[in-house]
Amino acid sequence: MNKNLRVVVWGSVALLGAAALGMVALHRGEPINALWLVAAATCCYALGYRFYSAFIAAKILAVDPLRATPAERLENGRDFLVTNKWVVFGHHFAAIAGPGPLVGPVLAAQFGYLPGTLWVIAGAVFAGCVQDFVILLFSVRRDGKSLTEMAKEETGPLGGLVAYVAVIAILIILLAVIALVVVNALKDSPWGTFTIAMTIPIALLMGIYLRRIRPGKVLEVSVLGFILVLLAIWGGQWVAHNAELAPVFTFRGQTLALLILIYAFAASALPVWLLLAPRDYLSTFVKLGTIGLLGIGIVVLHPTLHMPAFTRFIDGTGPVFAGKIFPFAFITIACGAISGFHSLISSGTTPKLIARETQTAMVGYGAMMAESAVAVMAIIAACVLQPGVYFAINSPSGIVGQTAAAATTTISNWGFPVTVQDMQSLASAVGEHTLFNRTGGAPAFAVGMAHIFSQSLGGGSVMALWYHFAVMFEALFILTILDAGTRVARFMIQDALGHVYKPLGRTSWYPSILGTSAVIVAAWGFFLWQGVKDPLGGINSLWPLFGIANQLLATVALCVATTIIIKMHRAKYAGVTLIPLAWLVAVTFTASWHKIFDASPRIGFLAQARALASAPGTAANSRLILNNQLDAAVTAGLVVMVALVLIESIRQWLGVLRGQREIVMRETPFVRTRLAEDRI
């Protein structure tokens, strides 16, 4: 393409992006079409990738196409392997995409469609994509070292220790929150519970099929598993209407929480090939297919958003979660804009597969853009619902009232009209008894997705199937994360305990496996139980805690990245990571302050504990008081740890910039690539 044509093309993209963003940001009064959000996001991603990532690659990272990567130098056919860039991209995206970018933006839609959309787009382009990209490249230049190893080497032992503790803490909180999302989606839902229960024998069957009948034919067995899951969804409808079977699969939240805890403990102790791996294949298959289908559905059907740009809840009085736009919208959206957890993937499997340094932008920056696009889809799915319906689904009974009539009156009085009949019709259409108080984001997303698809594919008559397909889709990969996350945390604890008593570190020694699995499951089970018993629905306190923990890990990753950039003598460009870092510090520290000390019992853990203490004392109250005090202590602990890393990093930066500290770079020495073009 010649220069003039390039200017015209990119100028047009910039103009379209500006017009779409202007429309999204300034349109008021009437519903807006979802295509404006799609156009704004697509143009911003295209510009960010073409110009910003290229700027970072050229000016800061000095990405070198001639430098051999660890995949080439250390190729062993197992961990280190030169791999096609598109294959690495798919692999990386499949690893980073989870339920977070679907749930967080749905919850944040209580502020209206605009705050979430702007943060998902800007946060990804200027923070999330940058973090994933630079951490990936720095890991590639360090033989694929992990974030915790890089933190230890570049910012000192304290950085490594904090990163290690932060990862375990985040895993525990994350597992509790996503388990709570599943509980809230499945409680009193025999159809959903039956479908999800069936995925367990289906995964076991897949594992045995792979092991005994057709070894290694994973794609084949995933298609088979997918067909069986579709049959389970269809069969769930029959179960829900069967007078004898429906009660067998109808559970309260507490019973579901116990079942999930037992399941997670058993699953994490079973061999990987039997349950985890086949379910992982199945959930990845469903995940990639559903995300693709949802993207096509939104573009083709271009639904109208009924949620206003802003709602009255920007003042912090929202029913879904309490707190003002700043900082809580940013904490809530989490993975859709920037996720500290991604830095673990960017410094895990992916750097060992990259063939050329020049591919890190496409994989690191590009895959996060795709994740952000998923978050935009989630916003659209939530905002196509009538606002009254959205709030009826997402508001806990402790806020809107215990009965359907009380809930609809409260929500209608907020200015979002909804009637009991509306909710009953919708519940019948999706095959549920009720949709009131289905907090957690997943049910609202499922209703939105079913609403979009049923407009063309099958019409209203199959809305129930679409709804349960969406619930199954989210629950399936949440169950995979529960199993995988419990294992990852278990291995981390076993690695540490192995230094104290060697047999405890052996990952094949059953007493150690069972003991450490029990510790991890008990830890996240505690928070899950707390969420299930919480009269405010649990998500109100636990999701912000997860968001804070996740964003604090991103803070650690950006501290490491900034330290390396300054050591590379690129201090004048350090703003690329320093500005997102400063923003995250402002957001996470402010949010933590509010969550601990805010005077409102709906926001501050300590205020909630005080409010409970002043109420008539019961055993349940004493437990809730303790839970809130513990949440405050966990939040404070995370903040203190990250503050220490930040202080240590700043000392490093100042020392280097003043010439008082010797620069020690841990990059592996340059080795010229020998790869021919056709291998990469």
Binding site: R78, G100, V272, D280, C335, I481, G485, R487, N550
Partner: protein, 58 residues
């Protein structure tokens, strides 16, 4: 047509990598074993630890 073929080939390769079919094929090449339940068992024994440590994001 050629572009479509290349796209389909890359898509299939990506799926095979994500679904571990490619790593099983490499294992068979490396060990010289034919595909069988025993070979698949050995493949999993070798990678069980690494697979279980692989984090999946939220």
């Amino acid at each position: 047509m050629r572009v479509l073929k290349t796209g389909a080939r890359i898509l299939l390769a990506t799926l095979q990598e994500i679904f571990d079919e490619a790593s099983y094929r490499r294992f068979l090449e490396r060990t010289g074993l034919p595909s069988s339940p025993e070979a698949y068992e050995n493949f999993w024994r070798e990678r069980e630890d690494a697979q279980a440590r692989r984090a999946r994001c939220c």
